[in-house]
């Protein structure tokens, strides 16, 4: 009986967690270059399965498996619900025209590389760039992380952002002269992608390599919108809400049954 309470509680917990993730996705629906998070669940294995105790070889209280489950009846019941690692949905966002020459959007795979204040190389799909007072191409935000070229060097624009044109391969042309090439980088294992906030990402310790020429296109005068689809998110929100309520109701029913068991069964007179 109590075990069931815990199973229902995991349901409430995971639903509330998914709501948090959806709320963050919706809050960032207008963040350029934002990639939405997928909050995934899986069925939790029974405790025996988690401890790799096969039922046939189980010896309760035996020396081999000191922590084996004590209740054999629970074996066939699952362990409820648990989180799976949060995945980043790297699907392409829509390209929105802005007309601003320093707005770049990537069509296809890959990320812009920038250096953050701690000297770490970070990746981003946010191509809203600006030029700082030294003429460096930076992200247009409070920190102004410098944008890197293919050789991972900061990009300097002579005379600032005037008369800049960025071609499909990332070549920056200024007054008819190619001055630099914006680098695009990627790594094979997308599951290792970590978010750092401020639209910055990294692949952890996985090395990043330049995206092969022609594999992705850069569009000047466009930004990539967040790949958050309002309808999908709202449907998921409603679904999660009902799931949470269903599990909460299950808790209530089990509580009532338990109350009956404790208070009424065996009542004399």
């Amino acid at each position: 009986m109590i075990y069931g309470l815990y199973l229902s509680a995991t349901g409430v917990q995971t639903s509330a967690h998914r709501q948090d993730t959806i709320a963050n996705n919706l809050a960032n629906a207008e963040t350029v270059g934002f990639k939405k998070d997928l909050s995934l669940f899986r069925q939790r294995l029974t405790e025996a399965q988690e401890r790799r105790v096969s039922p046939g070889s189980r010896r309760p209280y035996g020396p081999l498996f000191p922590a084996a489950p004590t209740n054999l009846l629970l074996e066939p019941i699952g362990g409820g619900h648990e989180f799976q690692p949060t995945l980043i949905d790297t699907a392409q966002g829509e390209l929105e025209p802005t007309g601003s020459p320093l707005d770049l959007a990537i069509e296809g795979g890959g990320y812009f590389a920038v250096v953050d204040s701690a000297g770490e190389t970070r990746l981003t799909r946010n191509g809203q760039f600006a030029v700082d007072s030294q003429g460096n191409l930076t992200l247009a935000n409070a920190n102004g992380e410098k944008v890197l070229d293919l050789q991972r060097r900061p990009i300097r624009l002579e005379g600032g952002a005037a008369d800049v044109y960025v071609g499909k391969d990332g070549t920056i042309t200024q007054r008819g002269r190619a001055v630099a090439r914006v680098g695009l980088f990627d790594a094979p294992d997308r599951r290792r992608l970590v978010k750092h906030g401020g639209t910055l990402l990294s692949f952890g310790d996985q090395p990043i390599t330049p995206v092969p020429a022609g594999a992705s296109a850069i569009h000047g005068g466009f930004v990539e919108r967040a790949n958050v689809d309002a309808a999908t998110e709202l449907a998921a929100l409603m679904d999660t809400q009902r799931q949470l309520e269903a599990n909460a109701n299950m808790i209530r029913y089990q509580d009532q049954t338990l109350a009956k068991l404790v208070n009424e069964v065996g009542k004399i007179g």
Binding site: Q19, T86, T240
Partner: protein, 269 residues
């Protein structure tokens, strides 16, 4: 739990309502001479790691990804869009428009910035001392100063900014001054003072002075004023997008609230 969702959605509402403010200001200035529209950029906030990636599970495998929840969004910056506004003919000799990147320099209060203001509003007047001053606000004096002598019947300003006057009773025009234009490495780093005046900041870099027509500073067009570069259609689309995103975030709040209510009412006596 669902409290995180509440806060994330609140960050979304706050950031989006600021964008509504900025769009409203853009639209209010759709007819302001030389007004430059601003744009609000968003970025995602930090992430709460519930489980770090790279943790060893019971089977001895490393988990490739962790579990995290994003904490919402914030405004990364407001960006001035310095795109050229269309030049509107006024036929007034002291109206001058800049076709290019430069700014006129005017003397403002010594206590503000370096004591100089920069503007693209070329709606000039002659004050009681014969100085060429800005038409709006406090009548800031042009730098370097230009004196229009008494008895002037015609003023002509060339594309390269040479100011010539014809006085009553004279056949030939005399040169009285030269308009100069200031450029910045990062004009988006200028601070807005209102009254179409910008002041230099550390981020904008120092002004680079040149004569019109040189170093990409742009040329002067007499009898023209630069219109606001606000595109009402674009602003209205942004307004619609913002309103919808705002509504989505309020849905997150409602759902999180209901979830908290459900959880709060789990135990009824």
């Amino acid at each position: 739990m669902a409290i995180t969702a509440l806060h994330s959605a609140a960050t979304g509402l706050r950031a989006l309502s600021t964008r509504i403010d900025v769009v409203a200001n853009n639209l209010a200035n759709a007819e302001t001479t030389a007004f430059k529209r601003s744009r609000v950029n968003f970025e995602d906030l930090m992430y709460l790691q519930l489980k770090q990636p790279g943790v060893t599970n019971a089977a001895g495998d490393l988990s490739p990804a962790g579990i995290y929840v994003g904490l919402g969004t914030r405004i990364s910056n407001t960006q001035i869009d310095l795109e050229q506004g269309s030049l509107e003919s006024t036929n007034r000799p002291l109206d001058v428009g800049i076709s290019g990147n430069g700014f006129f320099r005017v003397k403002i209060l010594d206590s503000i910035g370096d004591g100089f203001g920069y503007t693209r509003n070329g709606n000039f007047f002659v004050n009681n001392e014969g100085d060429l001053v800005l038409g709006m606000g406090d009548g800031y004096k042009l730098v370097p100063p230009i004196q229009i002598p008494p008895g002037t019947i015609d003023v002509s300003i060339s594309e390269s900014g040479i100011v010539e006057v014809t006085r009553e009773g004279e056949d030939e025009a005399t040169t009285v001054g030269q308009l100069e234009l200031s450029q910045f490495i990062n004009p988006q780093g200028l601070k807005l003072l209102g009254g179409s005046i910008y002041v230099k900041t550390e981020a904008s870099g120092d002004p680079i002075e040149s004569n019109p027509g040189e170093d990409g500073a742009g040329v002067i067009l007499q009898g023209f004023l630069e219109s606001s570069n606000v595109d009402p259609v674009k602003e209205l689309v942004t307004l619609i997008k913002t309103q919808r995103a705002f509504e989505l975030n309020s849905q997150s709040i409602q759902t999180a609230d209901q979830a908290l209510q459900t959880i709060g009412n789990l135990r009824r006596f």
